[in-house]
């Protein structure tokens, strides 16, 4: 019998608000342990939560981008459980009335498009972190992360392969980053997923027993874990075994999942409405305002780059792969750079330099006006393309002003044809062997002669002009 993999995801993203969900503490990552805390987020007796409105705003934004219905009257609920990283021993979350429901996201795998359903999105608070101190053999608690706002995005079990999961996660991350609601840094834990995996016979519609992998924080690990877990379950069933509903742990070193010692399935969270917070009402007006101020999402941007700028799907895809790269590109176009040339500069030179200097998109600090000026110099025949590449590197690395840089370093194109001609004459005179080779049909020799001329002229001549003159002289 053949088995079909079925996956559902619960993705947690930390919101990019400046302060925590229920107090004024900073959400900044890092910081000495227990320095980003106050009586409220550390759960002191007597404290009360006050909702950060920005969290609701971001949740609505995400919900609209993921085609969800927005719940008009929102309530928070308490999820009760004991753990040292949870100072109140309950997490304020949403069970009964989550802020978003019934959404969907379109993904594409190998040219096939399909929708993944979003069951719900709810707002909640993050917990702290346990740190084991091997020196003293004890466990310490860092409450800095306590109260950082989270969205939990719960998908329907609509995935049928690890590739679909990767496509969805990539798209989700792009959208959330574009919206500015999260930086989705997996290495800092600001995007992580609980992955539910089951298998069922092909053609069946009855879902199999699932296992859960919690807190997965790399796309690669998720991909490998799904394939491993799906194969494990299939083998179990084929050998007449049964899948046990349990939480399993992915071990990246061993490339395998292992059952966790866990009684979690028996846990009763005793949810009930949070009495310390009032219901949050979201008006039609609020939703409309949010809609009107939504940033353009990657998909729409990509389509616009193709239709408006005549770029290829591929180029448009590269440019919109990151919000900050698109920002630079649009900046160059806005400053008068032609979209075609702007695209070449950004996807070519800029991205090459970014990888050479390990610059992340959000760290980009390049003046789009300078790139536009550079493009103009090429278009006006003031410098040639090779020079432009060198100048771009100066602009990228040191913020050089391209016009001044070209001027000060004498990189402008030569307009003096007689100098080009006399240089070519010198090159012909001093390379008789190459002339002979060329006349014997060796095309390579021609290139060598052009190169020699350009070298003598410090690259300042127009290569096409050199070509033309040389050809004429050798006839």
């Amino acid at each position: 019998m053949n088995y079909q993999t079925v996956v559902g995801l619960e993705v947690h993203v930390e919101l990019a608000t400046k302060t925590k969900i229920f107090c004024g503490c900073t959400t900044e990552f890092g910081g000495e342990p227990n320095t980003h805390v106050c009586p409220v987020c550390s759960g002191m007796p007597g404290v009360l939560p006050v909702l950060n409105k920005k969290v609701v705003e971001y949740a609505v934004r995400a919900g609209l981008a993921l085609n969800c219905d927005i719940t008009r009257v929102n309530k928070f609920d308490r999820k009760n459980y004991f753990y040292p990283d949870l100072p109140k021993a309950y997490q304020v979350s949403q069970l009964y009335l989550p802020i978003c429901r019934n959404g969907k996201v379109e993904i594409e795998v190998d040219g096939v498009k399909k929708y993944i359903g979003i069951h719900e999105i709810h707002m909640e608070e993050d917990a702290g972190k346990l740190v084991h101190d091997p020196w003293d053999d004890c466990t310490l608690v860092d409450y800095n992360r306590c109260g950082v706002p989270l969205l939990e995005i719960v998908s329907e079990p609509d995935f049928r392969s690890a590739d679909e999961v990767t496509a969805y996660l990539t798209k989700l991350r792009d959208i959330l980053m574009y919206l500015g609601v999260s930086d989705c840094k997996m290495q800092e834990g600001s995007m992580r997923a609980d992955v539910n995996i089951s298998v069922m016979p092909v053609g069946s519609s009855k879902l199999g027993t699932r296992t859960e992998l919690k807190n997965m924080n790399s796309f690669k690990a998720i991909y490998r874990a799904i394939n491993y877990e799906s194969a494990r379950q299939t083998e179990l069933l084929e050998n007449g075994g049964k899948v046990i509903q349990e939480t399993r742990r992915w071990d990246a070193n061993k490339d395998a999942t292992f059952a966790m010692r866990s009684k979690e399935n028996a846990q009763d969270y005793r949810y009930f409405p949070e009495p310390d917070l009032l219901p949050v009402e979201i008006s039609e007006e609020w939703i409309e305002n949010t809609k009107n101020t939504m940033p353009e999402l990657p998909e729409a941007k990509r389509a616009r780059y193709v239709s408006e700028y005549g770029l290829s799907e591929y180029d448009a895809g590269v440019l919109t792969s990151d919000r900050d790269i698109a920002r630079v590109f649009e900046g160059v176009v806005a400053k008068g750079g032609s979209p075609r040339e702007a695209c070449n500069m950004v996807t070519g030179e800029m991205m090459k330099l970014m990888s050479e200097t390990s610059t992340l998109p959000e760290e980009l600090n390049i003046d789009a006006g300078k790139i536009a000026a550079l493009i103009k110099m090429v278009a006006d025949g003031k410098i040639n393309r090779n020079t432009a590449k060198d100048v771009f590197a100066e602009v990228f690395r040191y913020g050089a002003d391209p016009v001044r840089y070209v001027e000060e370093n004498g990189l402008g194109m030569l307009n003096d044809i007689s100098l080009v001609e006399s240089t070519i004459d010198d090159v012909i005179a001093s390379n008789p062997k190459s002339i002979e080779d060329y006349k014997n049909g060796k095309e390579k020799a021609f290139g060598f002669l052009v190169g020699q001329t350009m070298k003598t002229l410090n690259g300042r001549a127009d290569p096409q002009t050199v070509n033309d003159i040389l050809k004429k002289k050798l006839q």
Partner: protein, 492 residues
């Protein structure tokens, strides 16, 4: 000079008039506590040094011509479940035997700004769970009228400290009657404000949707004065209503002619002791003679108030008290095997029986499979109770009722029978469920010459009206001026 027949407003005026200094007054009350509290056990913490320092500061500011409030320089005390920065806030529990909060409750901040001199922290039932102050880890408080008897609770220390002359006024908290019932038992006045009128920020939560902080004093005017200081919106409490502080201007004079007072006849039936019923009925006559219209009505649904209250209050408490896990502060059992062991043993050691009982009850009603049958149903009944009060207030301005079915009983008499203890809350809990205000003032004496109080209940934010009626009653009667032996013999 004896200050025991003086109210907080009178003493505040004397300080203002330079008839006495705040320091002098504070010292007299500290002496009084030293002499009296071994009998009464109203205080868990006495901060003599801090109080004298505050008194000096406040006096200096008054001398410099600053007007802080009508109560500036008057010594008072705070229930031990209200956070005071750096001062032990134990909630009457072993669990928080060493907990010194890093912050002040909003009410504490407001009182300090108004020039209050905080003498210390007051005894209470553990985590405010109880009606007698017998469940305190620090021992039962004793009634100044008869030290064999309970003070009532959970704000027993708050009521007893005022009744014994150890503090001029105090703060208590009321979740199901915890201000009103000890006021009745100890012969003092108190107000349970409208839910949301006073910030709960810094009040250690018992049942978040029911808890309110309120004043206890020698008479209703003192209470109103304190309430005007501590009430008003607080951005730190999302359930605090966006409104200015309560204003009692014009509430202390004038008559109550034409006011309609409702008498819920079903509150005066079975279960109410005759010696309590009689003074309350007499109080109704007094109101009638003062010109009020008396109308009889029924608030039937309140028969379900006690089960509804215990389901909801315990549910919230089970969650609110989960944070006491031995990890971050308070009591932790040493030499534990592992994490679960820390949780189990610390909580087993440090919570008393009544607290454990309510945590178990609350956890049960929230469990999956029972949630709808108990918690959800209780929420619906709560709504019906609120509706029935709304209906009643269509017919009258306020309702008069007993506060408790009995006078203060003997220490130990009821402590083995929790159900009987819970039934003692019958006249008070529905007010918390409805979120409306209730005033408790003395109206006579019952068996064994123990004080009896009456309750005036009004709709949300009708405190000025309730205070006006209570003040008219106190202007016409002397019950609130009666003195027990501690008051009479007090040095202060």
């Amino acid at each position: 000079m004896s200050f025991n027949n003086k109210t907080a407003l009178e003493l505040g005026q004397m300080i203002k008039n330079r008839e006495i200094s705040s320091v002098e007054l504070t010292r007299a009350f500290i002496d009084n506590i030293e002499k009296t509290d071994k009998d009464i056990n109203a205080f868990i913490t006495v901060d003599a040094e801090g109080a004298l320092k505050t008194a000096e500061d406040v006096q200096a500011r008054i001398d410099a011509g600053e007007h802080l409030s009508a109560l500036a320089g008057v010594p008072m005390a705070i229930k031990d479940n209200i956070c005071t920065k750096g001062m032990l806030t134990s909630c009457g529990s072993k669990m928080l035997y060493n907990f010194k909060p890093p912050y002040n409750a909003t009410v504490a901040d407001r009182l300090y700004s108004a020039g209050a001199v905080v003498l210390g922290k007051l005894n209470m039932d553990e985590f405010a769970m109880g009606g007698s102050t017998e469940t305190s880890y620090f021992g039962a408080a004793r009634n100044p009228w008869d030290t064999e008897r309970v003070t009532g609770g959970s704000s027993g220390g708050s009521a007893a400290s005022v009744a014994s002359g150890e503090a001029v006024y105090s703060l208590g908290s009321d979740t199901g009657g915890s201000i009103r019932q000890p006021c009745s038992f100890c012969g003092v006045s108190g107000i349970k404000p409208t839910y949301g009128a006073v910030s709960r920020y810094g009040l250690v939560a018992f049942a978040s949707s029911l808890d309110q902080i309120g004043p206890i004093g020698r008479d209703i005017k003192d209470c109103a004065q304190v309430l005007s200081i501590i009430s008003g919106h607080d951005a730190k409490d999302s359930t605090s209503i966006k409104t200015a502080s309560l204003d009692f201007g014009g509430c202390f004079e004038g008559d109550i002619k034409g006011m309609t007072i409702g008498v819920p006849v079903n509150y005066f039936g079975d279960g109410l002791d005759e010696d309590v019923k009689e003074p309350v009925l007499k109080a109704i006559d007094t109101f009638k003679s003062l010109g009020a219209n008396i109308t009889e009505l029924e608030i039937k649904i309140t028969d379900y108030a006690i089960p509804t209250y215990y389901v909801l209050a315990c549910a919230e408490a089970s969650s609110n008290l989960s944070r006491y896990d031995g990890i971050k502060y308070g009591y932790r059992r040493k030499d534990c095997e592992n994490l679960l062991d820390v949780y189990y043993t610390s909580r087993s050691d440090a919570f008393g029986m009544e607290v454990k009982r309510r945590i178990m009850l609350g956890s049960f009603v929230l469990s999956s499979g029972y949630y709808d049958a108990y918690y959800n149903k209780a929420l619906k009944v709560r709504r019906l109770i609120k509706n029935s009060f709304d209906d009643a207030f269509e017919k009258c301005d306020m309702i008069i009722s007993p506060v408790a079915p009995t006078v203060a009983y003997k220490i130990g008499e009821n402590s083995s029978d929790p159900l009987k203890m819970y039934l003692g809350d019958i006249y008070t809990v529905s007010v918390n469920l409805a979120g409306i205000p209730g005033v408790s003032i003395p109206c006579g004496f019952g068996a064994n010459n123990m004080p009896v109080g009456m309750q005036l209940i009004g709709k949300s934010f009708s405190e000025p009206k309730l205070v006006k009626a209570a003040a008219a009653f106190q202007n016409a009667t002397d019950f609130h001026k009666m003195q027990n032996k501690y008051m009479k013999g007090g040095r202060a």
